[in-house]
Amino acid sequence: MRRRPGVQAAGLLLPGLIAFGLFFVIPLLIVVGVSFTAKKAGTVDWTHWTLNNYVSLVTNFAGDFDPLYLNIFLRSLWFALLTTVICLLVGYPLAYFIARRGEKWRAALILLIMIPFWTNFLVRTYALQLIFRKEGLLNSLLLDGHIIKQPLDMMFTPGLVLFGLVYGYLPFMVLPLYASIEKFDFSLLEAAQDLGAGTFRTLRKVLLPLTMPGVVAGSILVFIPVVGSYVTSDLLGAQSSGTLMVGNTIENQFLKSQNWPLGSAMSLVLMAVVLLAIIIYFRVARGDKKGAAL
């Protein structure tokens, strides 16, 4: 060949390399750096280095252990976990249902799942407000139907935030699941039943292990954004004590308090937590895989 393949590859790679090196890797490194500096409103003070930011994540001003931020992190993880699980429980049967339809139905149904995805995320979440707030739709229906006497106060509760998260991220779970289930050879289910396996055994030992890649992909695509999200908890939770998430806190630090170092420190901890969660998840998922078929 006239040109060495290596040169061709380099040419193709260069723009991506520059884009990523300059605007992704370096900024992340800067975040790491900033997390060790002292607060200076609206800018970075590169002259003062400190570990204070990390320390203050677990202590209060007096220097005693303060679980405030810890709780926020845990709550975010918990919300993310719940959201992932619920999305899985609801999304898997849905994906299975769609995958079993005929070709025309499948395309149409997937399109239908996608359409809400194409409405603006904010707008969808806002629509939930319309339904659930005190003078919202649900309450007026219940009042008019004489099912309740007083309007329910559902806004700004953890439950609502959770609902909003599931509502917002369900398509991210359904699509990878569908992609995986669609490749599944359904005659395997018949084979299992022919051999005497009941429904649950068949699902557990045949369907689930072979669609595990979809489950893993969907779970990651839901869990990670939810851990760091703040729009939903902002709109539906208004950052009340029961609904404050890590994302909100970081946003506050950056855009309101202008405490960039603290915000950076939190971000790094967040990323570490996310990476840890992924590793644990993969361990668990792989362990399942080894036990099951193939």
Binding site: M1, G6, A9, L13, P15, G16, L17, A19, F23, F24, I26, P27, L28, I30, V34, P93, F97, R100, I115, P116, W118, T119, N120, L122, V123, Y126, A127, L130, E135, Y167, L170, L188, A191, A192, G196, A197, G198, T199, R201, T202, V206, L210, I220, L221, V227, G228, S229, Y230, V231, L235, G247, F254, L255, G263, S264, S267, L270, M271, V274, A293
Partner: protein
Amino acid sequence: MNAAIVAKEQVAGHAQAGSGAQAISRPPARLALPAWLGNLLLKSNALVVFLVLYLPVVILIVFSFNAARSGVNWTGFSLDWYNKLLHDGNIGSAAIKTLIVAGFATAISTIIGTMTALALERHKFVGKVVFEGVMYLPIIIPEIVMGLSLLLFFRAVGVDLSLVTVIIAHVVFCIPFVAVIVRARLADFDRRLEEAAMDLGADELATFRKVTLPLLMPAIIGGAVMAFTLSIDDVIVTQFTAGVGSTTLPLYIYSQVRVGITPVINALSTIMLVASIGLVLTSLFLQRDPAGKKVK
């Protein structure tokens, strides 16, 4: 199929354990959902999900035509809010800015994403694995971290925030999506078509132009649509990288929704929804495989 054999062995193994040495009779009662019940459960689950998914959207659309300003009482059909929408200067300029950002971001990220996909799928090179990992990170890193990292970067470099910084940010998180989509199509690509072209006398460039690119186009378009969708919808990263006067539509909506809601937002959302659907249907049409096969 090997999987079928293994599955059979597995299931048979457990079934055997239950039935002992009986050769002819079935193992004792295994719990099996009758088919009709299973189907019913699946159907009802699907139905409920679709209802829940669409209800807020439908309400949104319906109330954009409600004459009343707030509250949930239907006071009459009205196009007032659409009227107000069209005359709202803020929304208009925000929409233009959104389109500008999305346009540039889509174009740039599609080109870079396609080139990167080609490089990753077809070449080996030093540090490939590392590069791949870094490339896919934006998909899994929390958006908020990406946003603030760029904010810090621009500050550190002394660049003012503006639409340009927003475009750069969008390009960075769009590239991996484009690359994944194009790469998936590349993986399935029949290399022998390229060999046939070269066998017939087309050199590498001509082969790429006449054979590879046309057949790759559906995936490239798909990637572009994905990038566009992500860009016009983005809030978090945009919030961190937009300067004063670079308010995009999502940012505008976010500020409005936090403060006070008028049905103008409903009207805006309805239009955006219709536009999105129109865009996607157009792209599906454009994504028709030039070979004539249906797109999945």
